[in-house]
């Protein structure tokens, strides 16, 4: 599914750690050193309490399927039909992604099913965190 052509992110100073992690096969989140809130997308302060004292840490990569649509017309870089999904990470935050290694059907894509991250390199700089059904 990940052919050339899909819009790619351009990292900013505040998000570079996330994309560096993705390139290295690691899903990186941030946690507040003061209130322990875990959050996404990246920013250099805690959106819960405003503290600038925050740390980057590797997430487990485990998630569940929170919601999705199955788009029936493909933009460049995609084959229709494909699901545009939101997953809930084990650590709490949610993120948009695509679900791979499974049919793009309502029958195969059951809400709350267990997923695990699967990075897919788009080019030398950008790997996207995609998710697939968890093994076992």
């Amino acid at each position: 599914m990940a052919e050339p052509g899909r819009p790619l992110p351009q990292p900013t100073p505040e998000t570079q750690h996330f994309w560096d992690g993705a390139k290295a096969g690691e899903l990186r989140l941030q946690r507040c050193d003061d209130c322990a809130h875990v959050y996404f997308p990246p920013r250099p302060f805690c959106p819960e309490c405003g503290s600038r004292s925050v740390s980057v840490f590797p997430a487990s990569g485990r998630a569940t399927l929170y919601s999705y649509v199955i788009h029936h017309r493909a933009p460049p870089g995609f084959e229709a039909p494909y699901a545009i999904a939101v997953v809930e990470l084990e650590e709490g935050p949610r993120m948009m992604t695509n679900i791979v290694d499974t049919p793009q059907t309502p029958e195969a894509l059951q809400l709350d099913m267990a997923l695990e991250v699967a990075f897919e390199a788009m080019n030398d700089e950008i790997s996207l965190p995609l998710f697939r059904p968890a093994e076992g």
């Binding site: 819009p7 997308p41 788009h71 029936h72 999904a85 939101v86 993120m95 948009m96 309502p106 709350d112």
Partner: protein, 380 residues
């Protein structure tokens, strides 16, 4: 705001709606503005405050020959005009200006001089949503719905009934784009856009515009039109990314905006005679009915499919046919406000008999923002 201190005295849509490739977007603003000024007997020299979205107030004021003492370019999507009404009411009460023009125009279908909309690849949405293949609102605004369906048992048939009921209203409206009756099967047999959403569950894409003129309730009595008083107002914003909406079964922005408006107005839900809920997609009225508190959580699908929002029923909803059947230029909030004004003036094509209080509730972005305006036709 202080209830009953402000009135809408001028209101009009563009002369034509639908497909109007003969005029550019800014002229749609102007056409609606001139119609609204004619409606209440004003000229551009009488306007001293301007608010708009899509274009800047600078462009609109200059194009129309207005010298404003107050300008508001709040642009949070389709409900921006609800926020403009709220801000204008506060500005007039504070003495910042006396007569505010709010304009909307959008060449949504024909794209003549349409203001560009593009998300930068450096933005958070550009980095963390766009790479996964969403193509505009039909593939993003709809993402929360499967979660809602699982939590509350909403069915595809109930979702389809939203479109069916609104087509019934549209059939009574000569200016509606689609007037032919449709059935639940018609909706469920229409082309799949983004499962579970089919074509007839998605709004139209048309050209058009609208404008409102507000002044103090004291001055309103001197105008030729029947004043429509502002009872209460609310607004809020939540997130520019649908994936980051806190709860996919309820909109925080809806709840905050709605509660503030009802608190200001000092009315109960039972007092509402007429309701407009911005319906870019079939699930919006369901979220709106629940988040405004008209029904309990998980009850709105059944409420609509059991025909509680049709003509003659307890809560007439989206009486112009809505974004699903009337028109939808892109920022539909202006048309919801226009229909509430028509209902309060008693001149709507599908007039609700003896309606005294109307609520117009809008969404901006994709559950990103919200604005709520409560109106009444009874003098303070």
């Amino acid at each position: 705001m202080r209830p009953n201190t402000i009135a809408i005295v001028g209101a009009a849509e563009t002369t034509d709606l639908g497909k109007t490739p003969n005029i550019s977007e800014i002229t749609m603003h102007a056409d609606a503005a001139l119609n609204a000024m004619a409606d209440c007997g004003l000229t551009p020299k009488d306007i001293d405050g301007v608010a708009t979205a899509g274009r800047t107030p600078t462009e609109i004021a200059h194009y129309l020959g207005i010298t404003p003492k107050w300008a508001d370019g709040t642009a949070v999507g389709g409900c921006s005009f609800m926020l403009h009404v709220r801000h204008a009411a506060a500005a007039i009460n504070e003495g910042l200006c006396s007569t505010v023009l709010i304009t909307h125009g959008e060449s949504g279908r024909s794209g003549v001089d349409r203001a560009p909309r593009r998300m930068a690849p450096t933005s958070l949405a550009g980095q963390f949503e766009l790479p996964y293949g969403p193509m505009g609102p039909p593939t993003m605004f709809t993402i929360p719905v499967l979660r809602y369906m699982k939590e509350f048992g909403l069915t595809e048939e109930q979702l389809a009934m939203v479109a069916v009921v609104q087509r019934e209203w549209a059939a009574k409206n000569p200016r509606a784009t689609f007037k032919e009756p449709i059935t639940v099967d018609d909706v469920l047999d229409s082309r799949m856009i983004a499962y579970p959403f089919r074509l007839l569950m998605c709004c139209l894409v048309t050209d058009g515009g609208g404008a409102l003129i507000l002044t103090s309730a004291d001055r309103a009595k001197d105008f030729p039109t029947k004043p429509v008083y502002i009872l209460g107002t609310g607004e809020s914003v939540e997130t520019p990314m649908i994936s980051q909406m806190a709860d996919f079964t309820t909109s925080r922005a809806f709840r905050v905006s709605g509660k503030k408006a009802f608190d200001e107005a000092g009315i109960a839900k039972e007092d509402v005679d007429h309701l407009m809920i911005y319906d870019a997609f079939a699930h919006l009225p369901i979220f709106g009915l629940e988040d405004l508190g008209f029904v309990g959580r998980g009850e709105a699908g059944a409420f609509i499919s059991e025909r509680n929002t049709v003509e003659g029923a307890k809560l007439p909803l989206n009486t112009n046919g809505g974004g699903l059947s009337y028109m939808h230029s892109g920022m539909y909030g202006m048309y919801a406000l226009q229909e509430s004004v028509r209902q309060m003036r008693g001149i709507a094509p599908a007039q609700v008999p003896d309606a005294k209080i109307s609520v117009a509730h809008g969404v901006g972005g994709m559950f990103g923002a919200s604005g709520t305006i409560i109106m009444s036709n009874e003098a303070p």
